[in-house]
Amino acid sequence: MAEPSREYSTVSKVVGPIIVVDDVEGIGYSEVVEITMPSGEKRLGQVLETQSTRAIVQVFGGTRDLDTDITSVRFSGEIMKIPLSGEILGRIFNGIAHPLDGGGPVIPEEMRDIYGLPINPYAREHPRDSIETGISAIDGMNTLVRGQKLPIFSGAGLPHNLLAAQITRQAKVLGQEEDFAVVFAAMGITHEEAAFFLRDFRSTGALERAVLFLNLADDPAIERIITPRLALTTAEFLAFEKDMHVLVILTDLTNYCESLREIAAAREEVPGRRGYPGYMYTDLAGIYERAGRIAGKKGSITQLPILTMPDDDITHPVPDLTGYITEGQIVLSRDLHRKGIYPPINVLPCLSRLMQGGIGEGRTREDHADVNNQLYSAYAQGIKIKNLVAVIGEEGLSDTDRQYLAFTERFETEFIAQGQYEDRSFHRTLDIAWELLSILPQSELKRIDTRFVAKYHPAHGRHQA
């Protein structure tokens, strides 16, 4: 970085969240900027583009009340950093890391660049420790493992917050009592939603092990660009310096992407799909890829980002690009929600890419992979028949078809549905699965190894867990 800190009052243009500062010299790309408004109020900004004598700056607090006359801009000569220490647990900050809890600033053990550095793919350890969330639709069908990034694709009005809170409450790795922490980043969610999480964390004692960054709906939208990065930098510090298993909840990524689009539009960039910038994939990857495990280190970062799909459209750019980066997705369904099923997880489009390494003998149970496979194929078949029934009625169905229908009905109401405080073990989840699979004729269980059918099928004197 060139010179330490220089101050100019040569703002020549203000458009949307962007200002242009002229007659400057030696401004570094990405440098942090402090803007002093005519009223004396100070706002934070960051250099988006630097030229020999001009800098383009995004203003995190928004540009309302800025002028091109007396507004002054101080370039710090530093890229954006966050102060970190082990004492940060239990703290609550706003979206740009200013304390909200009445406590003083964090006394740093370390200042960290919030953009971080990419983990060397060679240094990564393949995540394998399955997390028991106690939720059958996740544990049985799309097992989460430590170090995974598994987003919840939701829609407006669906209970994604309840689900995220339940996962936070119940998540555990069998046979391991280790240091854990929760990092929570809110981007544009309402006060009510934030209060819900706070209450829940407080009641379970998780708050003492949590760090919260809250950018709420009425906070400046542009700050949302840095909120998840602050959270993930904190998570990396806790995981890889303090050996903790960190669960990061980011909500709501759709709001984050809106802010990204706002900046792109103000800069008159060439828009990609639906007006979102062409680099959104790379930008989101810079967030989601900051999860995982590193060989030789104890800690881990597991990400649970939440996003609401506009109009429940999974092909919308935000869920679409997310799905291409994350290791699967949990998809909530309005239909199931309307039927009163909680959690309303539509397992068909769900996926956990890291599941295979985390299940099976010695991890969950030997029959897990086969049962999972069979449940999927049976449920898909049942849904197909259900759609057929809607057209032709039940008369034309064979006996097997009817059994599939019965299976599908009970799968939704007994396997997927469970209480908000119901914590099912892996064994319990799989036992329910067998119970339901036994509705079907045994010759239909083509995807399950005969050994497991003999051992776990209720008709064959079931193995007791």
């Binding site: 583009e49 350890e125 990609g272 799909r273 890829e289 057929l388 083509k446």
Partner: protein, 587 residues
């Protein structure tokens, strides 16, 4: 006037503008700023160059210097490539990890190949021999199965003036001198080659042999040849990556180049943990020994992602030049195209469709054209091949988008992945109605001659049944299955059996994961035996429902997962059971 250093005048993301660079060439590599970050010149206007920087540019200040190197982006080709893992511009990630830290910091540069390691060199020419580009000077046995030929670099010819005797050398030691008139070339075991130019070949040949992948739906219905090109488009979660991994594991190529282009870090970790533990079904060697990994994950610099595809294919060409069959997997070409779009956007170029640059189609074509079966350079008659398999990640799974469409204009094989199949957990989720292969005929000849005479007929019948099933399903949707005549019900049942017993293949099952050509044929034969008996049963007025309830159906569905050493007895058992069960029905 040419100058060796310029001055930065503008920085925006990975794109840097510098003036004072008159005389610099397009695609020349430069070192940017105080940290000497690696960049490449991508446009020139008067003395101003636009540079894409392969590393994070935060903190770079206008006024800092840009140094020319006079060289285009090149890779080092020589012993030590196999089993290695590189980023998009061939920086060795393993060594970087050892020397620096778990995170990739900026300005980390290291030689791509170990300079200290000594290799056992075995000369194959004598002093006085006439040689030209592509001729073998000697051989380094890099692993028990791969002998690494040390070749005369393209463009050099003359007489051998000196050749090193058998012994151990590092890659920097001169192992031969070639004299041509009064010009003398000192040759080491390493060549450098600019990644954006294809390495020369003597002649392009037509593909002949199938690339056997052990994946039944691919080898049987939509085969690819050695030297062929294929695309796998599919929405997220449809199993692109698993198919790519399966091909990397089991394809019967000599060398595999796997490019993780803008994809997930944890997936690369998976490859790195799993591949060394797997055995090549052909040689019994660890699969890692025949692989080169290029890992430029989505959060690594976008310009290096753009370069990664070229780095990979250049390495593939180098091994092809030795006469090997190379298979290259690029996962995913969409991320590569997006990197082009991102850079193009920063250059404020006039966008084409969906913001992609107008040259997207030609860049894709240039890349896939580097595949093929060829007569390699040199005085011999050796052939080598590169098969390219590119994953495509269409936004929203919509195949009408530009990357998919431009790719389809070039490739000969199309494996369309289908989210509906994936939701049903029918894997590989390759849609048999949309996919195609233009190599059917060449490949059919090979199967007929080497595996079994009925292959072409079986394949045709399978396709026909699946097509008929689709037509019948339309009717069923309107009127229900019960009103169909028995013949049509049997067609539906046959197609279902093909889908469940043959096309579905479980990648994570220790035996089902790979089915060799012979077993594929025997499985097909078994199914068609079953179908013949079923046809006969129908003539005896036995219903499809009765056939469906035969226990042998479950055994057929498990043929793929029978362990190799039990195949003979198990298959014989299925055959006997089949005959007996039909007999019981009175056939």
């Amino acid at each position: 006037m040419t100058s060796q250093a310029g001055v930065i005048i503008r920085v925006t993301g990975p794109v840097v503008l510098a003036s004072g660079l008159r005389g610099a060439r397009m695609f020349e590599i430069v070192k940017v700023g105080r940290q000497e970050l690696i960049g490449e010149i991508i446009t020139l206007e008067e003395d101003v160059a636009t540079i894409q920087v392969y590393e994070e540019t935060a903190g770079i200040v206008p006024g800092e210097a840009v140094l020319r190197t006079g060289e285009s982006l090149s890779v080092e080709l020589g012993p030590g490539l196999l089993g290695n893992i590189y980023d998009g511009i061939q920086r060795p990630l393993r060594e970087i990890n050892v020397l620096w830290a778990d995170f990739i910091s900026r300005g980390a540069t290291l030689p791509a190949l170990s300079e200290a390691k000594k290799w056992e060199f075995d000369p194959k020419v004598k002093e006085g021999d006439q040689v030209s580009g592509g001729d073998t000077l000697g051989v380094v046995q890099e692993s028990t199965t791969i002998s690494h030929k040390i070749m005369v670099p393209p463009g050099i010819s003359g007489r051998i003036h000196m050749i090193a005797s058998a012994g151990t050398y590092t890659i920097r030691e001169t192992i031969a001198t070639v004299r041509n008139g009064d010009r003398v070339f000192d040759l080491t075991m390493v060549q450098r080659w600019p990644v954006r130019s294809a390495r020369p070949v003597k002649e392009k040949l037509d593909p002949q042999k199938p690339l056997i992948t052990g994946q039944r739906i691919i080898d049987t219905l939509f085969p690819i040849t050695k030297g062929g090109t294929a695309a796998i488009p599919g929405p997220f979660g449809s199993g692109k990556t698993v198919v790519q991994h399966q091909l990397a594991k089991w394809a019967d190529a000599d060398i595999i180049v796997f490019i993780g282009c803008g994809e997930r870090g944890n997936e690369m970790a998976d490859v790195l943990t799993e591949f060394p533990t797997l055995e090549d079904p052909k040689t019994g060697e660890p699969l890692m020994n025949r692989m080169i990994l290029i890992a430029n994950t989505s959060n690594m610099p976008v310009a290096a992602r753009e370069a990664s595809v070229y780095t990979g294919i250049t390495i593939a060409e180098y091994f092809r030049d030795m006469g090997y069959d190379v298979a290259l997997m690029a996962d995913s070409t969409s991320r590569w195209a997006e990197a082009m779009r991102e850079i193009s956007g920063r250059l404020e170029e006039m966008p084409g469709e969906e913001g992609y640059p107008a040259y997207l189609g030609s860049r894709l074509a240039d890349f896939y054209e580097r595949a093929g079966r060829v007569l390699v350079c040199g005085s011999g008659k050796e052939t080598g091949s590169i098969s390219v398999i590119g994953a495509v990640s269409p936004p929203g799974g919509d195949f009408s988008e530009p990357v998919t469409q431009n790719t389809l204009r070039i490739v000969k094989v199309f494996w369309a992945l289908d989210s509906d199949l994936a939701y049903r957990r029918h894997f590989p989720a390759i849609n048999w109605l949309l996919s195609y292969s233009l190599y059917g005929e060449e490949v059919g000849r090979w199967w007929t001659e080497n595996i079994g005479p009925e292959w072409v007929a079986y394949r045709k019948e399978m396709m026909l049944l699946l097509q008929k099933e689709n037509e019948l399903e339309e009717i069923v949707k309107l009127v229900g299955p019960e009103v169909l005549p028995e013949e049509d019900k049997l067609v539906l049942f046959k197609a279902e059996t093909i889908r469940e017993s043959y096309l579905a293949q479980y990648a994570f099952h220790p035996h089902d994961t790979y089915t060799g050509a012979g077993r594929q044929y025997r499985m097909m034969a078994m199914l068609f035996d079953f179908f013949t008996l079923a046809d006969r049963a129908l003539e005896h007025n036995i219903t499809t429902e009765q056939i469906r309830n035969l226990p042998v159906k479950t055994a057929l569905a498990r043929m793929g997962s029978v362990p190799k050493d039990m195949e003979e007895t198990e298959f014989a058992g299925i055959k006997t059971a089949m005959a007996a069960q039909f007999k019981e029905l009175g056939v």
